[in-house]
Symmetry: C2
Subunit: 285 residues, 2 copies
C-alpha cells in the first residue's frame, strides 16, 4: 500500500477575469486568462490519525483544502511546499486544494477522474471564496484561456500557444474575497472586453495588453503596481498586474531590465500532475 | 524574425475507440482513451522556397501535414524526428500534423490559438483518413479520455489521474485507413462499452482491462498481439494492443517480465508543446 502520494501544481497568475456566479459552485467561476508558472506548490499527502495541513512547515487553515478532504472522506496530513508568495495572486490556495485532491485520490485509491478531482477542488475554492479560476488554469498549465466559467466538467477552454521566461515581484498582499465579495459588475464588464480582445489575437503580447487595460478599467490597480508596470514599459518590456495581488508579472527580462530584482521562472507547459513519491528513507516525518 | 520554430508532440497509443462520422471534419472523430507517451515526435519548421516534409531524414508525403500547411498558407520545410515506430499505432502522423501546426503558427506569427491549431490538425487527420483521436490525445497529454468526439473546440474530455512507466513493442504494421474505412459499427459498439467501463472506474488498470475486452469484441486482435498480451498477463502484468498497430503496450515492467525486449518510456504528462528553438549554430541545414 502506498504510504505517501505527491502532486505538483503550478502557480497561476490571472491577467483578467469575470465573476460568474451560480448557485452550483461547480458551475460558478470566471472567464479570463493568465499564466501557469513553473514555480508552484508541491503537495504531499500521507495517512494520519487527524487531518493536518501545513504550508512551508507552518500549520495553516485553508478552507478549500478542508472542503476537498471532506468530499473525499479523507483523514490525511497535507504538506505544501512552495517558493511562491502567499496571498499575492499566485493561486496558492487553489494549488493546495487541487494538489490535495490529486494526491489524496492516489493515496487512498478513491478512483475519481482528473476532471472530477479538479471539479471538487474548483467547487471548494468557490465555496471558500478564495478563487474562481485558478484551479482550472492550474489543471491545464500553459497559458490557459477560460472561455466559459465553471469547473473542468462544465467550462470551455482554449490556450495561447506560447513559451516564455516570466519574471514576477510582489509588493504586498490583497484579499481575493474582499474584491470578489463586492460589486463585481464593473470587473466582469472589463473582463469580457479583455477576453474579446485576446480571442481576436491569442498572443502573449495581446494577453498582457488586454490585462493592463482590464486592470485600469476595473479599477483594481494599486499605485505601486501601476508605477512598476509603467517602469517596465518605459524599459521596453511587457508587464501587468497579477490578479489579485500587489504583484507585477513581466515577460522575458522585463522587470530586470527596469532595475527590479524579480523571481525568474517560466510558463509551465504541463499543468497539475502527480509526481513519483519520494524515496521512503528520504521522508521527513 | 525567428528563423526556426520547434514543437514536441507525444506519441499516443489508443486503447479503445469509437468511430463518429460527421460531414464537418472538425466534429467527426472518436470517443475513447489511450496513453500519451514521453516518446514522441520533435517537429522543426523553417522558411523554405518549397514545402518539404521529412521524417527521420527521409522525404515523406503525409497528407495531414500538407492539409495543415495549406490551411495556414505556409510554404515551409517540416522536419520530424522520432524514435517511435511509424505506422504502428503511435500517432506519428497526428504528431507531425499537430507539431507542424504549432511550430508554423509560431514561425510565421499566424496568431491562431492552441485549440484552433489543434482543430486544424485534427480536421486534417480526419480528412486524410489517418486518425480520429490521436491529435486530441496528443494535445492534452497524460491519459486522455475522449468523452465526446471532435476537435478540441467541439469535444468533451476527461483524464485518468495516473503516472506510470510504460513499455511497448511492435510486431509489424496495420493500416488505420483500412480499418476505419470499413464497417465500423461493431467497433463503435465495443468502444462505447469500454468507455462506460472506464468512466465507472477511471484507473490505469481499468483502462487496460477495458481495452483488452474492446480488442476482442471488435475483433481487431492479431494472433501475435494476442499471444504477447497473454504472455504479459501470465507473468502477472497488464498489457493491451495499441490501436491500430501490431503493437503491445504494457504498464511498468510488463513486457520485460514476460521475457520481451521492449522500448521503455513513461506517460507524458504535458501534451504537445512549443520548444525553445535550437541554438542557431547547431542547426544542420
Amino acid at each position: 500500500m502506498t504510504a505517501v502520494a505527491r502532486a505538483f501544481v503550478p502557480g497561476h497568475v490571472t491577467g483578467f477575469f469575470t465573476v460568474d456566479r451560480d448557485d452550483d459552485p461547480t458551475k460558478a467561476g470566471s472567464r479570463g486568462a493568465g499564466l501557469a508558472l513553473s514555480e508552484g506548490v508541491t503537495v504531499t499527502v500521507r495517512r494520519a490519525d487527524a487531518t493536518e495541513v501545513t504550508l512551508n512547515g507552518e500549520t495553516v487553515e485553508i478552507e478549500a483544502v478542508e472542503r476537498v478532504l471532506a468530499a473525499l472522506e479523507a483523514t490525511v496530513a497535507v504538506r505544501g511546499v512552495t517558493d511562491l508568495p502567499v496571498g499575492s495572486g499566485f493561486g496558492v490556495s487553489g494549488a493546495m486544494a487541487l494538489g490535495a485532491a490529486l494526491a489524496t485520490n492516489d493515496l487512498l485509491d478513491r478512483r475519481l477522474s482528473t476532471y472530477e478531482l479538479a471539479t471538487v477542488a474548483h467547487g471548494a475554492e468557490v465555496q471558500a471564496g478564495t478563487g474562481l479560476g485558478d484551479v482550472v488554469g492550474q489543471l491545464h498549465g500553459g497559458v490557459p484561456v477560460r472561455l466559459e466559467p465553471g469547473s473542468p466538467q462544465h467550462n470551455r477552454m482554449d490556450a495561447v500557444p506560447a513559451r516564455s521566461r516570466v519574471e514576477f515581484q510582489t509588493f504586498g498582499e490583497l484579499s481575493t474575497s474582499d474584491v470578489i465579495g463586492g460589486d463585481t459588475d464593473p470587473i466582469s464588464t472589463a473582463g469580457e472586453r479583455a477576453l474579446s480582445r485576446l480571442v481576436e489575437e491569442p498572443t502573449l503580447e495581446r494577453l498582457l495588453g488586454a490585462s493592463r487595460q482590464f486592470a485600469r478599467e476595473a479599477e483594481l490597480l494599486p499605485d505601486r503596481v501601476y508605477e512598476v508596470v509603467t517602469d517596465v514599459a518605459e524599459a521596453g518590456g511587457e508587464a501587468t498586474m497579477g490578479m489579485l495581488g500587489r504583484t507585477v508579472v513581466a515577460l522575458d527580462t522585463g522587470l530586470t531590465d527596469a532595475g527590479y530584482d524579480p523571481t525568474v521562472c517560466r510558463i509551465d507547459p504541463t499543468g497539475a500532475t502527480l509526481l513519483d513519491p519520494p524515496a521512503e528513507r528520504s521522508l521527513p516525518e
